[in-house]
Symmetry: C3
Subunit: 331 residues, 3 copies
């Protein structure tokens, strides 16, 4: 009487198939230097549980729930479907995925959420690559052993949990190329129609990225530019308050350097800025941030991250630095 | 400190038990021939993840979450418990289940959601077998090898996520009989009290079904009749907008034919109608639909379905045909 | 494109790791002797699904979803994250956990939800140990083989799904000691700041517990005392309507005796009271209850519980006795 047939011989017989369970939890303590009571709290950054696997040789699936009550918007307290897709992987240069997944834009966004070098993604990626996740169809090619990798997606442009709000689709793409063993460059673009019931007003974004991996040193940098229409409420990165960028030209960049002192210890430094309106001088919404952090890997599945985020105001100074401490376990 | 005891030797020792993980995802693209902008969207039809298994010989359990944000009502964006029940299966002719499961009414409703021959169930089943899922206790007998199968349930009558809204319970039953190797007939009934805080107003439904399986040809047909009280908001089939049938006599039917050209290719045709009020002539709510489809099975776990739904209005013509394309992977 | 890297060799290769899936469902039938229509319903008490496991020798994780729509508040219909924590277990006398878990207060609360001897916890524990679950950091020591066990936690004090509502944290602790093979005594305390944006008004609670296990007889008793500020909406025990205790001195106790007639049959009797305001005589909110029950264990994973709850009013008599019947299957 469930959604499975009730034939005992076909259902619960041999389970030679292998469903792989995976996930991770990120309990975190936030401490705000807000010049007052210094708001602080225990919380989860992310708490994810999923399954994935292969069906015969050419198909695979991925199904992941996000259970943290602090990601996905203000009224998002429950577990919800985050990434879920079917992939056809027969041809390495023309793999196809359909379902929900991250928009293929920016190295920072593409980095798995459990492998970020700092606790927070860059402001520019969180603000401009919105919606971060979406419904669509993607063509992709390459793998970790090829010099070229590319991703090209046609997506609703509205994000998770909602059907498309207009009849146009968005096109998003990214490509990376390993120039040498230690240097990878890449670029991303998006061309879309973000507004509700509006097939006219467009949005165009592009970005460039650079990744240097020299022995124990890693330097990563990106620049992202965005202009045109914007739909508030489309949802940005993980738990970030989106800034309304409608009609504005915005841009930002970051540079991040980390060094593996040994197998366990990895200090990291990031400098970044985000200008939501490049045409306005002395904009109080202009953001600049330095992140000083250290990652400690107890083992390959367990990591501790400590980050100090110095938010720099260039117009009016505000007490808003933050200290974040996060434990992560992957399974 | 969790809900398990903290004895390390009894908890995480041998996992000889076998919990079977199962589920499926159905990414889908809808295209509406609406005479205007032709609304279209990527979405999920269903996205389900569950576990099931046997406990010793006589007990089994089933626990399934639905994670698609587009099933379960307008404000249903998160993962929720769909079917979950405990079964006692010692006696084949008197098995017992308790928990949530589909109301045992109609072959179309009983067909597992990943095994439907067309993407949508019949309108009459979606509208009249509402709530489709409910809390209750069921007595059932037979299996795939017996000529007779029966299901008899006492249920709240209010559907998932809610306690009963009156103090009467609903009785729902279905029986099928294999007359010959290729012909199965069956019937269903329901007698209930759907209305809020109302132990007086009744609802009575009955249905008849016919299944012909002749080599590669399958023909399936049902007729369902319903009359009496109705509680709006009880929730119909998967994602369907329920029509308020309170006080009306409604009925409908469908006939569906499919043919297995070979192991992979299966064309399907369905004709159906639903009359929400049999006493009203030229009712603009009267619905007639033809579905033309083709199913392609990449393998036994991966299926592609393409359906064209021609909605026929007999009173006033409306542009409302729909093209649906669905990928499905089971695991 | 999911949250995992896309390296096929590192992802889906060997799954030598062992993720343990666990959970249980508790379908239940409630019948109220309310002097009127006798409200009754099928429902779930709890429906939980989780994973847990060890990472190398010293770390473990626990991740559990609650999917019952009837636990967690009025608008809690969907599956949500209940307990999720990372533990460092290298040193038996100084284990550390971080994440969400039950407040370490009271034997009744500490008892796993699938191992309660009666269907309901005691009123005093449900009302005073609120929030029952919370975010925090815990130091704990001992195990089932040591005479002493202790738990000491620093927690938000606000419960699940919310960041802390003030900048002070709560301290909660419990210790138990096996005096002899059959007698265990224990005590709990909590010192916290429950109110919203209020770092001044405190709440202090303490409790004492006694557990006698004499062959087939088990006697368990607790007394809990509480005074000070209280934040309505902090959420009490599983599905209980919290009484506003702000500014009041409250206390209550229970004594419960059960006897294992044989491996399968266990009758149980519990007497309890809860006085929400010890300074008010003839308080109509004063509660007294006798629970008469019987537990039947089909096997170690499948249990049936039948409980009659006689609610006794000392001031004005009300028809509010309840009969509860629950099936439970663990996996």
């Amino acid at each position: 009487q469930g959604c499975e047939g009730d034939d005992p011989t076909t259902n619960d017989s041999t389970s030679t198939k292998s469903v792989k369970i995976f996930g991770y939890i990120q309990p975190q303590f936030d401490y705000n230097f807000d010049g007052g009571d210094n708001k602080n709290t225990f919380k989860f950054k992310r708490a994810r549980l999923g399954v994935r696997g292969n069906i015969q040789k050419d198909f695979s699936y991925y199904f992941m729930l996000e259970a943290s009550p602090f990601i996905g918007g203000d009224d998002q307290e429950d577990a919800y479907l985050m990434d879920a897709f079917i992939s056809y992987t027969k041809y390495n240069w023309a793999k196809v995925s359909v379902g929900t997944f991250k928009q293929p834009f920016s190295l920072d966004v593409a980095t798995p959420c459990h492998s970020l070098t700092t606790i927070e993604r860059s402001i520019v990626a969180d603000q401009i690559v919105a919606p971060q996740r979406d419904f669509g169809l993607m063509l992709l090619g390459g793998n970790n052993y090829t010099k070229l990798n590319y991703w090209l997606a046609i997506m609703n442009g509205r994000g998770l949990k909602m059907v498309d709000n207009n009849t146009k689709k968005d096109i998003i793409g990214r490509a990376t190329y390993k120039l040498t063993g230690f240097l990878t460059v890449g670029g991303s673009f998006r061309y879309g129609y973000p507004k509700l019931n509006n097939n006219e007003e467009e949005r165009t974004s592009f970005g460039g990225e650079l990744l240097v991996e020299l022995d124990k040193l890693k330097i990563q940098s990106e620049f992202i530019h965005d202009e045109g229409a914007y739909q508030p409420g489309a949802g940005g990165g993980c738990g970030v308050d989106p800034i309304d960028l409608d009609g504005l030209t915005s841009e930002g960049a970051y540079i991040m350097a980390s060094y593996n002192v040994n197998e366990k210890l990895q200090p990291v430094f990031k400098y970044e800025y985000f200008d939501p309106n490049t045409e306005l001088k002395n904009n109080i919404d202009y953001l600049e941030r330095m992140t000083l952090g250290v990652n400690y890997f107890f083992n390959e599945k367990v990591r501790f991250q400590l980050n100090y985020l110095a938010n720099i105001e260039t117009v009016v100074n505000v007490d808003n630095d933050v200290l974040l401490a996060q434990m992560q376990i992957k399974f």
